[in-house]
Structure formats: C-alpha cells, structure tokens
C-alpha cells in the first residue's frame, strides 16, 4: 500500500511488528491445538493424565505476553507521538466537514473543495465541523482525526502531515454522518512546490462555483437528477408545493424563498423531500452569489 506521508513508514513498521507477532502466535496456538488433538486422540491415548497446573508455565505465559504487548504499546505510542508533534512552521489549512462534503480554506482566505498541498511541506489541518461529527481520513497518509462540532474554536481537533509523494489521494469521511456519509469524499492533490505556487496564484483569482464550494451540490444536483434534496436545475422561478409545519401550500421559488431556506431550511420543505438540510450561515454576498447561480440554472 502506498506510503505518501512522512510518517506512513513508521506506522507501517508498527503494523508489521504487531501483525507479524500476531500471525506467529496464531499459527503457534493453532498448530499446538491440532497437534494435541492428533497426538492425544482417544485412539492414541485412551487414558488421560490428570495434570492440574504448573506454576512455572503459568508464569512464563504471563510474563512473555506481557513483554510482547508492552512492546506493541511502545511501537504504537512512539509512532503516534510523531503524528501529534506538529513541526515548527507548518502551513495552516482549515478543513471544513459538513453533511456531506469537504471544503478547505487556505491562509490567503480562498477556499477549494479539494485539498491541494505542496510536496515535502508540513501541513497542519484544523478540523471544523458545521454540523455533526465527521472524520478526516487519508489512507495513503495513515492519518485520521474526527471533525468535531465544538463550543469554542480553540477546541477544534487538528492533525498534521507532510506529503512525500506527488499525486492524488483519497480523502474519506470515516465517522458515520448520515445519509450520504459514503459519498463524503474528496482528494488531496500533492504538487511540487513550483506547481503548487502556480495553482495558488490561479486559484486566488478563479471563481469556484459557490454551489460546489458551500457543499450545496452534495444534495442538490445541477442536472435535474434527484440526490437528497430537489435539483437546482430549473427550480428558480418555479412554483413548488412545500410543507410548513405539517400543512401544504404553494410557493414561488424566488430570492426571498432562497434566503429563508438558507437560514431556516426546515420552515418550508419542498413536498416529497426529507427535512434534512442544516441551516447555512452565509454572508449577504454569498447569498447573492447563490441566487445568481440559481438564476443561471433556470
């Protein structure tokens, strides 16, 4: 399996030690059991010896496993210390998890839906949840940490890594977070420093689709297909039946309705769809951008 972070090798060494020891023990236990079953079968050994115990043996098989598990603990702990010890001067990026998409905010303030990082550069990720618990997981980096909703920003979880291979690696959500948990995927793109600088310069000026950036498209398609909520294709200006506190009525999807639905999504839910959307905290500019995009999709 690809080792794409600086500490992946250390983690894998611990895997090899623990799994290797385990396999030896398993084979030992199994072969002993089968050998005894064969050697002391009723046919070969009709009269059993009545052996009640043996202090020396009990001591041996208490002390040796104790030593082994302490070594396993030690391997795990030393590797873990490296994973928690954020190097001085690490680049700060904020990873935002929400039902059901990821966003990454860079030091210069711009946001992307993929994590792009330079090669050989320590990166510290601060993990922000906008709703329930998620877990940021990059198997190729051997790193995972839960994205917890917290009362104060300083209580947010964090992790760090240093990418050692260029390429694209999967980002997965590892903590169950509802219907589209298994679709809460993204990528880490590792670029050589120079390409990264170019990407950053370009990213700062390119407009990323606000609907993608804010995670709307995790539930609302742009092509008319159904995901969780109604598709954005052609919805703006249409007349929809909505359910408000159990009663149905008709609304026209206009700027006013969009604004209200972002602040209080459960107030008027389009009929036939689950009341699943969390409230969105968007700035006035962002709301205007969303409305403009919806108009384009008419």
């Amino acid at each position: 399996m690809i080792q794409a972070s600086s500490y992946a090798g250390v983690v894998d060494d611990a895997f090899i030690f623990i799994l290797g020891t385990s396999i030896v023990l398993l084979i030992g236990v199994t072969l002993t059991m089968l050998f005894f079953a064969f050697r002391y079968s009723r046919a070969r050994n009709p009269v059993a010896a009545q052996i009640e115990g043996n202090m020396v043996l009990e001591t041996i098989w208490t002390v040796i496993p104790t030593g082994l598990v302490l070594m396993m603990f030690w391997y795990g702990w030393t590797g873990f210390r490296i994973m928690r010890d954020v190097p001085e001067g690490a680049m700060e990026i904020e990873a935002i998890g929400r039902m059901w998409s990821w966003a990454f905010r860079y030091p210069d303030g711009h946001t992307s839906d993929e994590l792009v990082v330079p090669l050989h550069q320590p990166v510290r990720l601060t993990l922000t949840s906008e709703d329930v618990i998620h877990s940021f997981y990059v198997p190729a980096f051997r790193i995972k940490e839960d994205v917890m909703p917290v009362a104060r920003p300083e209580n947010r979880n964090h992790l760090w890594f240093q990418a050692e291979k260029t390429g694209e690696f999967n980002v997965l959500c590892a903590e169950y977070c509802g219907e589209r948990h298994s679709k809460m995927l993204s990528k880490v793109r590792v670029l050589p420093q120079e390409e990264y600088d170019n990407w950053l310069a370009a990213a700062a000026v390119t407009q990323v689709d606000i609907l993608k950036l804010k995670g709307c498209t995790a539930c609302h398609s742009l092509d008319g297909s159904r995901i969780v909520g109604p598709s954005f294709r052609g919805i703006f200006g249409s007349t929809e039946t909505v359910v408000s506190g159990g009663t149905e009525h008709q609304v026209v999807v206009d700027a006013e309705y969009v604004r209200k639905s972002l602040a209080e999504p459960l107030a008027d839910v389009v009929k036939g769809y689950p009341p699943a959307m969390p409230p969105q905290q968007l700035t006035d500019d962002e709301i205007a951008a969303v409305i403009a995009r919806l108009q384009e999709l008419r």
């Binding site: 009545q50 115990g53 208490t62 590797g79 873990f80 909703p149 997965l172």
Partner: protein, 549 residues
Amino acid sequence: MLAVDTPGSVRPSPSFLQDAGGRSGIGAWIFSTDHKRIGLMYAAAMFTFFIVGMCLGLTMRLELMFPGEQFISAAAYNRIFTLHGVIMVFLFIVPGIPAVLGNFMLPLQLGAEDVSFPRLNLASWWIYMIGAAMALASLVVAGGVPDTGWTFYAPYSVRTDSSVSLAVMAAFVLGFSSILTGLNFITTIHRMRAKGMTFFRMPLFCWGLYATAWIQVIATPVVGITLVLLMLERTLGIGFFDPGKGGDPILYQHLFWIYSHPVVYVMILPAMGIISEILPAFARRTIFGYKAIAMSSMAIAAVGYLVWGHHMFTAGMSDTARWVFSLLTFLVAIPTGIKVFNWLATLYKGSIELSVPMLYAFAFIFLFSIGGLTGMVNGALSTDIHVHDTAYVVGHFHYTMFGGAGIGFFAGLHYWFPKITGRMYNDRRAKIALGLIFVGFNLLYFSMLIMGILGMPRRYADYLPEFQPFHMASTIGALILVPGLLLMLWNLLHSARTGAPAGPNPWRATTLEWQTASPPPLLNFEVAPEVTTGPYDFTHDPLLQENPA
C-alpha cells in the same frame, strides 16, 4: 464431584417439560418461574431475533457485492445496519449466553433447585420482551427505523428525525432485564451452591457468569443514564451534547463506552466459560490451571472497566488520555492470553474425542484468537489511527463477538442439547453445518480485515471500485455462512423432537448438571447433591470403568 445417588434409585420425577408446576397451555411457559423454562423462552425469542439480524446482515452484504446502488438506497442501508447492530447487540449477544444457557445451567451446575429469585427471573424475561417489542415497534412508527448506528452518537442522533427515541428507550428497558439477571446470578452463586461446593469447586462456566453478572450490575446503569440524557436532549433540547449550548458530543461517547466496552466482556466471558466446560469433558481430564482461568475472568472484568477510551482514539481526547487508554487496553490482553494457553495445556496428554461440541470449541479458539490478536492493532495508537472506523474494526469485532461469543454459544448449545431436550442432535448434519459456518465465516470477515487495512471505511452504503474484489469475497462468505447457520438451527430444532434418547450423561462429564435426568425434573435433583472434589475430577473416569483400556 459425583456424590449423588444414581438417578433411578428413587421413583423418577417427570421432567420439567412434562411438569409445568400446575399451569397449562401457553401460561405454562410465559408465567413459569422455572429457570429451565425461562431459559428456553429466552432461546425462542433470541434465535428469532438472531435470524432477523442475520437476514439484515445478508441484505447489506448483497447490496455491497458491487459498487453503486444495487437494490437498496443509502438511506435504507443506514437503517439496516443500525437495526442489524441493535438486534444483534441488545437482543442477542449481550443477553444471549447468560439468559439462555446461564439460566438453564447455573442452578443445575450449582446443585440448586432454581435461581435465588425465580419470580424476578420471570420478570426479567418479561422486561426483555417489552424492550424487544419496543425495538421492533420502531419499524412501524413515524420516522421509521433509526439511522444512527447502534451507538446512537450525538449530535447526529439528536438531529435525525428517525425514531431514535423509541429505540433508545428500548435499549434502556433491556438494560433492566440485564441488571436483574445479573443480580439474580450473583445472589444464586453466593447463596445456592450445593453442600461442599466452595467457590473454587464451582464449574468454570459459573465463574464466567459470575464475572459477567458483576459487569451487568455495575456497568449497565451507566448506559441507562446515557440513554436518558439522549432522550432529554431530543425531547427538551437541554444541550448536554450540543456545543452550541456549551455541551460536548465527546461526553456522550465517554458515557456510552464506559458501558459498551465492559459489555463486550458480558458477551465473551460466559462463552469462555463454556469452552472451559467442554475441553475437560472431551479430553477426559481435569482443566489445566483452574484458578488461573477463574481469576483471569475476574481480572478481565475488572481491567475491562478502564479501557473504554480505545473507542475514541481519533475523537480528539488529549494525547495523554490516548496513551493511558492504549496501555490499559494492552493489559486486558494478558488475562485473555492466559486463558488460551491454559486451554491448550488442557489438551496436553488428554484423551481427546473430536465430538461436535469439541469441534466448536476448537473453532472458538481459532476464531477468537484472530479476534483477540487483530485487536492488538486497535490497541496500539499509531496503527489504530489508520484502521479506526474502517471495515477492519468490523471484521475484528465480528471475530470476537461472533467467532468468539457466538461460536461459544453454539458450542454450549450442542454440549447441553442432550441435557436440555433429553435427545441427541444429528451428528453428521451438525458437522456439515459447522464446516459451512467455519469456511463462510472466515471468508466473510477476513475480507473485511484486509479491505479495512487498505482504507475502506465502515458504515458505507457505497464504496470506491478498488475495494470490489474484497466485498465480493466477503459476500460469497456470507452466502456460505448463512446456510450453515440455518442448517445448525434446523438440526437442533428437528433433533429436539426426533433425536435418539440421550440419557442423563451422554458425555460422561463430571459436573453436577449431568448427575440428574435429561431433561431434568422440575426441581432439578431427586436428592440434593453434595460435592467433595473439584468440578473436573476424572480420577475415577466412568468411561474407563466401563471399557477398561
């Protein structure tokens, strides 16, 4: 420990199946305070739920055979894995062995007429059935089956509009059944042992139940409180777990695992007790290291309270908390290892017969060893970070809970089947079933171990195409395992009516339950037994006296 008059020397009483204590019809069962009937009623209910849970598991495996959506939506998948977990954990494997085999065998093994509080025992069954009905009612009430996973993690469980409150209330009610059963067993073990049966002359199954009962009594209230907090959170919005109101979701996880880790020992300790009964009986020799095995049960129960944090290694606990929990977790492995080594030593110089219960015991040792050893990866910090919340964990705990507790349960069912029914199961069918179970099981769950290490998260309704070969292998395993389980259950049910009469002691075992008729009479023994030796005293092996070697 044989010290009772040979059954038959007095006029034999009718068996508990004929003698309903004056009741008739269905009332002879559902109002019976006979520990044996209560055990069988638990068995009937539990294996019904087991089959439901198994079908749900199979549905998930079929859906996951290919990436993308096959025949169930992600929303349905999430409800199915929740229901599978709730049923298998709360309705089957936690109450499982104590409620069925513990109820039936504990008084018999102690030489008692019944448990200490027979009416409380019946009440426990009724509470269990009420809890089960509530859990199943969540299928039909508004909101539908919960979609939170059996762990009900806040804040998701607070926001979802599925019927979490009802399921949580069900788990709360089931907890009382568990506490009362534990209480009953502790008192029974302390107060009802036969004359001459000291604590260290008790069969090891009783020791397993004893350690288990203490966990049930002490740990279950914690989950009760946790679930009440969750209900208050959902109904009144108090904010215990809501950071917006100053609460913390990690508090829920602590409270939940303070119970739910120790409870894995509720599942496994009685199974270990069963294995400790079967090995001496079919190796015709005393157990090796009786005290080490008995005390390791107590050690596991005690240290098991202090390791819950290993479920939260990625949740953002302080680094100090993480290493402390990691170290403590490894300490639990030591008494577990001691048990395995003593079992192996019990085979040494034995006279081993590979009967069906013995084969199940061997399967247990193999599968449980994999379960325990794969847990080392979860105990160590750096490796757990990678496999936490992946299919690896799912594979690991199925090896311990199903390969361990489940297979141990089946071993016990076969071992005590002739005692319970008075008849013998069909041997050939039992062996075929075990073969299917063993092969299917390993294919099903070993595939999960591998895909987890490769980075396949758990609770995924869909997955990246690169994991497909492992999912396919896993599903094929399920398709072998399920017929094996059904064949095993059918064989037992069928043989209960048609099997050859077994006689009081077909295995020539030494513990007290074999010194009375099969099935036992209502009050268990014709003459109160008296004990003069340890439980596995084969120095006067009846088998040898009949066929001298």
